[in-house]
């Protein structure tokens, strides 16, 4: 019953996958086409009588259906903006705009089909040889050849699609959902394994879907009814990497175009079945030449009649079954040529369609369909990726697994051998059971190694290694090529003749001939053509197929979109607590590593002048800050800095420079002593993470005996530099408990006190800008409060914010170097112009030997102040400095126009002999111009004697100010409420999956020995969480590292309770308030685990990460503590990260949770843990 003239739709078939109750339209080259749900693009077209779907790559020959599967080379089409869609696989959708690709001007009339007549000139290597000389014509060749390029079109305006990512940790991952894959899955699941069953097609069943639909349905139902099997259809195992790291591409999800699953499978079972291979003969790519499986698919799955009059060449049961299907579908089978009896084809005639078939027995039969069933290819690629080398079996006429790969990878089904359905299923069951047994062994070792489980004893898995059963192979004739030449690689248009030619040219091994002809290198990557290619090369070289060997299969098994590989983008960003203020005040953002900072709010030079004349404030939160505690801190500082630290008094600050072991300057900053055994170290903004790791490295690997605890507190404080002649006046208006007079709080000193009502602020009197200035480090949640208070109370003083650019100008005027800008990877300390700081009389410090030798040799460059003679010229940074003879003798490292001096100023590195003050230099600008410049006396261009930072103005009296408000890192909604001075989101949600900002909880960090008295007193260790009797939650967040959580506002009490606890043990320990330094998010709901599996690569199963587990890992590429604390049986996780990335983490989780309907929740008035 056809709806159109030429309609080929058959009546209902037992295994059909289309839903006849409804139909819809899509377009094909602009013309409407009818389809049923379940139709592939090409099956719908074939049902309307279309036979040609594309033109071939080189000769632009018309191409039709060959395999009717994902791997059909002639069925690649363009769908809307998406090129290279596998038309015989992709399901038709209403309104889809499908067009043929690689055709011009139309599919029916393709101008480039003229190449067909030029075919004998377009042999392999034609392009290499022809378009080689003369070289000056290469651009022209490129333009012409581009017109002949294969494949569809991508518009640069195509909008970004949504792609997804997920991690999985199945015990057994099975590639292939045919009878063997399903049987293996059932057996593995019954043996207690968690199974992921991945099938490339839209349904499970494999070849049973067309050969035995009843059996397919039965097995599929059994899989669905069995617990522990996750079925992924329309998904493909794209690659297997070391330690069974497996890439699965999941296609066409409702919420995403494609999803990449990164699975760490304990065992992998490869059950990909067999791929029917084409036969090589003249005209074998003519539309109407199909494989026996294609015919069976069309009839049984899509109810499409593949032709009207058929000739069949069969060498196996699949061909015989195709004959039966054709007859049942009403196709006239004009002749069956049985290859097992020596019958063969010579060629088919016809151009856009088969017209007749010429057989070896001399008969020429009119037909529009020629079906071949000449054998199989085993897609052994996943096995090869696991180290297996396939072996050719002349009996089976295909390559078989060599059986020498990794023992975490097993094979079953057609890849492993031949058998009846029962034999295959029996083999698969044995493999599935063994896969589960091996997985249990891996699982046992993994669980034994993680600290997150309950203390209970793990039981060793039982069962002994089974002898793996073997499948035999049936006899298949070695049929690869008829007496004529034909296409071997359909996607690359490589014929058997080309391969013979390649061998004649000397490319006589499979690997060479492949590269010369590009056979097996097209979109199919050898899945159809490898064995025919090897057989042809073997024939041409006179070797056997076994001697010729196969080419290497590499990932990916099928093409995976770049979008899927990129996935959701995880790029952590960091914000200061004042970021929203900066945005609201039109700050131009500066991306500095992960930080987003205000570059300037208005004119940077005006910001500079205001600092020099009045007072400015800058947000310097990104400055790295490390809290150092312990009696051995001076030893550490002496080791890491080039200068001396033993005699730093309490309340004093010192500038220090760190070098690496090669003497190269690595970082700089000031360190202050806050108490007897308590120091605060600052680092450069970009160096914060590196310096922390550096410090840990020296402490852990070289000096584990030193008593020092290092805690990063970069984002625990909002840092504000208040600079300018009126800064003392401004700061003193808001500060209590600190004498701010010039004599009471001198230059290079540190105090702690209360600023704008906020306790525990750290004030440094230091100066990067050269002005009198105070750097305020405020507990981060109060950062915005203090920032706004400074602006409010400094109005009459002319206070204005300044950005990073203003600060860079100010520091250049003052001649302060920036590590990484004025130094590079070769700048040793003596070259950085900090001679005064280097103390070679210390016994040891990092990098000392190289600095001793540098001093002896006097070599290397020197950092100097430079001013161009013409003050209007600002030489761009990296301009070269030349000697008289024109040789390069250095470069400008920093340059700006100085608003204070009204002339250009620079820092630069020059050879030592040019470093003397007054030396005249030649600066070579990028424009080619050369300008004169002079080396200045000092690095500082403004106020080299340093009098500006020592002005002696009297401090003011503290003024009343607004009540401090604490804010979390996540932007609250419109409705807010106040809990313990915290402004929190007031909205509540009862959705099944919720996320809330619980940063207001009190957080106290404790450090001690991982196995000492403190650990014992706290009652838990690394990996586990307990509730202590004081209603706090103690999280074992690291080895010898704890996080104690309490109710909002309770940090002071908690802090003193923990200090008492540590003191009572007598062990060296550290207790630090982390309330303001960390973001704490609460994620709860039944899908919480599924959400986390999309952003976190750790196994979150109940066995590995049960209630009470605590671990630190990467979540959305951000270092995050994951603490599982179920809430009345509802899976709940606390996620804990650096405060500055709290908003990023929150947004990443919201995005990942969208498919589960996640909602934002506020904070209950009395949050419980």
């Amino acid at each position: 019953m056809s709806r159109h003239a030429g309609g080929k739709r058959l009546g209902p078939q037992q295994g059909e996958v289309i839903d006849r109750r409804t139909s819809f339209e899509f377009s094909w080259n602009g013309k409407p086409v009818n389809a049923h749900p379940g139709d592939s693009i090409v099956s719908a077209l074939a049902a309307e009588g279309e036979r040609v779907f594309s033109r071939s790559f080189k000769y632009h020959r018309p191409r039709g259906l060959l395999t009717a599967s994902f791997h059909d080379p002639g069925c690649m089409v363009q769908v809307g903006d998406e090129p290279n869609v596998r038309g015989a696989h992709r399901l038709a959708e209403p309104g889809m705009a499908v067009s043929s690709q690689n055709t011009w001007p139309s599919l029916k009339f393709d101008v480039k089909a003229i190449n067909r007549f030029a075919g004998r000139f377009l042999t392999a290597g034609f392009y290499y040889k022809t378009f080689m000389k003369p070289e000056f014509l290469w651009p022209t060749y490129q333009n012409v050849l581009r017109q002949f390029v294969h494949a569809g079109e991508i518009s640069p305006d195509t909008p970004h699609d949504y792609y997804d990512k997920r991690y999985a940790h199945p015990d057994v991952l099975i590639a292939g959902g045919g009878p063997a894959g399903m049987s293996a899955a059932l057996a593995a699941a019954r043996a207690g394994a968690s199974v992921m069953l991945v099938e490339e097609e839209h349904q499970l069943g494999g070849h049973l879907r067309w050969s035995n639909p009843g059996a397919a349905a039965e097995l599929t139902a059994e899989v669905a009814a069995t617990e522990g099997i996750e079925v992924l259809t329309n998904s493909v195992v794209a690659g297997r990497y070391d330690q069974n790291w497996i890439a699965v591409a999941q296609r066409d999800l409702s919420h995403a175009r494609e999803r990449l699953i990164k699975a760490r499978a304990r065992t992998l079972v490869v059950a990909g079945g067999l791929i029917e291979r084409p036969y090589v003969f003249a005209g074998n790519d003519t539309p109407g030449v199909m494989l026996s499986t294609a015919v069976q698919r069309l009839i049984n799955l899509h109810a499409v009649k593949p032709g009207e009059r058929a000739v069949v060449l069969t060498a196996n049961e699949s061909g015989d079954a195709a004959v039966a299907d054709l007859e049942r579908a009403g196709v006239e089978v004009a002749y069956v040529a049985d290859a097992r009896k020596g019958e063969d084809v010579v060629r088919v005639h016809g151009r856009k369609s088969v017209r007749s078939v010429e057989l070896a027995n001399g008969r020429r039969i009119n037909a529009d369909l020629f079906v071949t069933a000449t054998g199989w290819t085993a897609p052994t690629s996943l096995l090869n990726m696991a180290g297996d080398r396939p072996v050719y079996s002349p009996t089976a006429a295909r390559f078989l697994p060599g059986g020498n790969g990794d023992d975490s990878v097993l094979a079953t089904g057609g890849i492993a051998g031949d058998g009846t359905l029962d034999q295959l299923c029996e083999h698969a069951e044995a493999i599935g059971t063994e896969a589960a047994r091996r997985a249990a062994g891996h699982r046992y070792h993994q669980l034994a190694a993680v600290p997150t489980r309950y203390g209970g004893k793990l039981s060793k898995p039982r069962g002994t290694a089974a002898t793996l059963p073997e499948l035999g192979v049936h006899e298949h004739p070695e049929l690869f090529r008829a007496s004529t030449h034909g296409i071997v690689d359909y996607s690359e248009d490589v014929s058997s003749k080309d391969l013979h030619f390649a061998v004649k040219e000397g490319y006589d091994s499979a690997e060479l001939a492949k590269r010369f002809t590009t056979a097996t290198m097209g979109p199919l990557q050898g899945k159809l053509e490898t064995i025919n290619a090897i057989a042809t090369i073997a024939e041409a070289t006179g070797k056997t197929i076994a001697e010729t060997g196969t080419t290497t299969w590499r990932p990916m098994y099928t093409p995976v979109s770049l979008g899927a590989l990129a996935g959701r983008i995880f790029e952590p960003v960091r914000h200061s607590p004042m970021q929203r203020w900066h945005e609201q005040h039109n700050a131009t953002p500066l991306v500095a590593g992960q930080w987003i900072r205000p570059d300037h709010y208005g004119e940077p030079s005006a910001e500079v002048r205001n600092v020099r004349e009045n007072v400015g404030i800058i947000d310097v939160t990104p400055i790295g800050k490390l809290d150092l505690r312990g009696p051995d801190v001076p030893k550490l500082l002496n080791l890491l800095y080039v200068n001396k630290w033993s005699k730093l008094g309490i309340g004093k600050v010192r500038y220090g420079v760190m070098c690496a072991e090669d003497g190269v300057v690595m970082d700089d900053g000031v360190t202050g002593r806050l108490g007897e055994d308590h120091y605060l170290m600052s680092t450069t903004s970009s160096g914060a993470a590196r310096v922390w790791e550096w410090v840990e490295n020296w402490l852990q690997t070289e000096h584990p005996d030193w008593q020092v605890h290092v805690t990063p507190v970069t984002t625990a404080y909002a840092s504000i530099n208040v600079a300018g002649p009126k800064s003392r006046e401004l700061v003193s208006r808001l500060t209590e408990g600190v004498d701010l007079s010039a004599e009471g709080f001198g230059y290079m000193q540190v105090r702690t006190g209360r600023v704008a009502g906020v306790d525990d602020c750290v004030l440094w009197r230091i100066g990067f800008t050269g002005e009198l200035s105070y750097e305020l480090h405020v507990p981060a949640s109060y950062g915005l409060h203090v920032w706004e208070a400074l602006l409010e109370h400094g109005k009459d003083l002319g206070v204005r914010p300044f950005g990073v650019e203003g600060q860079r100008i100010l520091r250049l005027e003052k001649g302060h170097l920036i590590v990484g800008q004025d130094t590079d990877g070769l700048t040793k300390a003596w070259s950085a112009g900090i001679d005064w700081a280097i103390k070679l009389d210390k016994d040891d410090f990092v990098g000392k030997p190289e600095l001793v030798w540098q001093q002896e040799n006097g070599d290397g460059a020197r950092l100097v102040g430079i001013q161009p003679t013409d003050g209007n010229v600002v030489p761009p940074e990296a301009s070269q400095i030349l000697t008289k003879s024109g040789a390069i003798a250095g470069r400008i490292t920093s340059s700006r126009m100085s608003p204070t001096l009204g002339r250009s100023i620079c820092l630069g590195q020059v050879d030592a002999e040019l470093a003397k003050p007054g030396t005249l230099l030649t600066v070579h600008l990028p424009t080619g111009a050369k300008v004169a410049a002079r080396v200045t006396e000092h690095h500082a261009h403004v106020d080299p004697e340093g009098s500006r930072q020592n002005i002696d103005t009297p401090p003011a009296k503290p003024r009343p100010h607004a009540t401090p408000v604490a804010r979390g890192p996540v932007a609250a909604g419109r409705k807010t409420t106040t809990i313990a001075s915290w402004q929190v989101d007031a909205r509540r949600s009862s959705a099944g999956l919720r996320i809330a900002d619980h940063t207001l909880l009190a957080k106290v960090g404790v450090r001690g020995r991982h196995d000492g008295a403190i650990a014992e007193a706290l009652g838990t260790g690394h990996g586990r969480t307990i509730r202590d009797n004081g209603s706090a939650v103690v999280v074992g967040s690291g080895p010898g590292e704890w996080l104690v959580l309490g109710s909002p506002g309770g940090q002071d009490k908690l802090l003193s309770r923990m200090r008492d606890l540590v003191e009572n043990t007598g062990e060296f320990g550290t207790v630090i308030d982390q309330t303001h330094g960390r973001a704490l998010l609460k994620l709860s709901g039944n899908h919480a685990k599924d959400l986390l599996a999309k952003v976190c690569g750790v196994d979150l199963s109940d066995a590995a990460t049960p209630d009470g587990a605590a671990l630190r890992t990467s979540v959305a590429r951000l270092v995050t503590d994951v603490i599982r604390l179920d809430d009345n049986g509802v899976p709940t996780y606390l996620l804990h990260c650096e405060r500055s990335s709290g908003q990023y983490l929150f947004d990443a989780l919201l995005d990942a949770g969208a498919e589960f309907g996640i909602e934002i929740d506020g904070c209950p008035t009395a949050p419980t843990l």
């Binding site: 993680v450 600290p451 840990e696 016994d843 190289e850 630190r1112």
Partner: protein, 80 residues
């Protein structure tokens, strides 16, 4: 991606760690000759086989661990 057997956290993806290279003992600063010092700075065995390496579990326990790794098979064993 390979996993490294963190002795504190259990097996974790290598992307959580920072590779600090082969274990190279630091010469005595007081007596080292330039040649010895630069051998420490720049020379590595780069063996095809078992190598002792330092790794830092950056996105985990933040401990430096010592891993014995076979550079061709990526088999690993770790110690604290």
């Amino acid at each position: 991606m390979i996993q490294l057997p963190c002795p504190w956290c259990g097996p974790r993806n290598a992307s959580e760690f920072t590779h600090h290279g082969e274990v190279t003992p630091r010469p005595d600063v007081g007596t080292a000759t330039p040649e010895e010092w630069r051998r420490y700075l720049y020379f590595r065995q780069n063996a095809n086989g078992w190598v002792d390496e330092n790794w830092y579990h950056t996105a985990g326990c933040r401990r430096f661990i010592r891993v014995r790794r076979h550079t061709t098979s990526n088999e690993t064993e770790a110690t604290r």
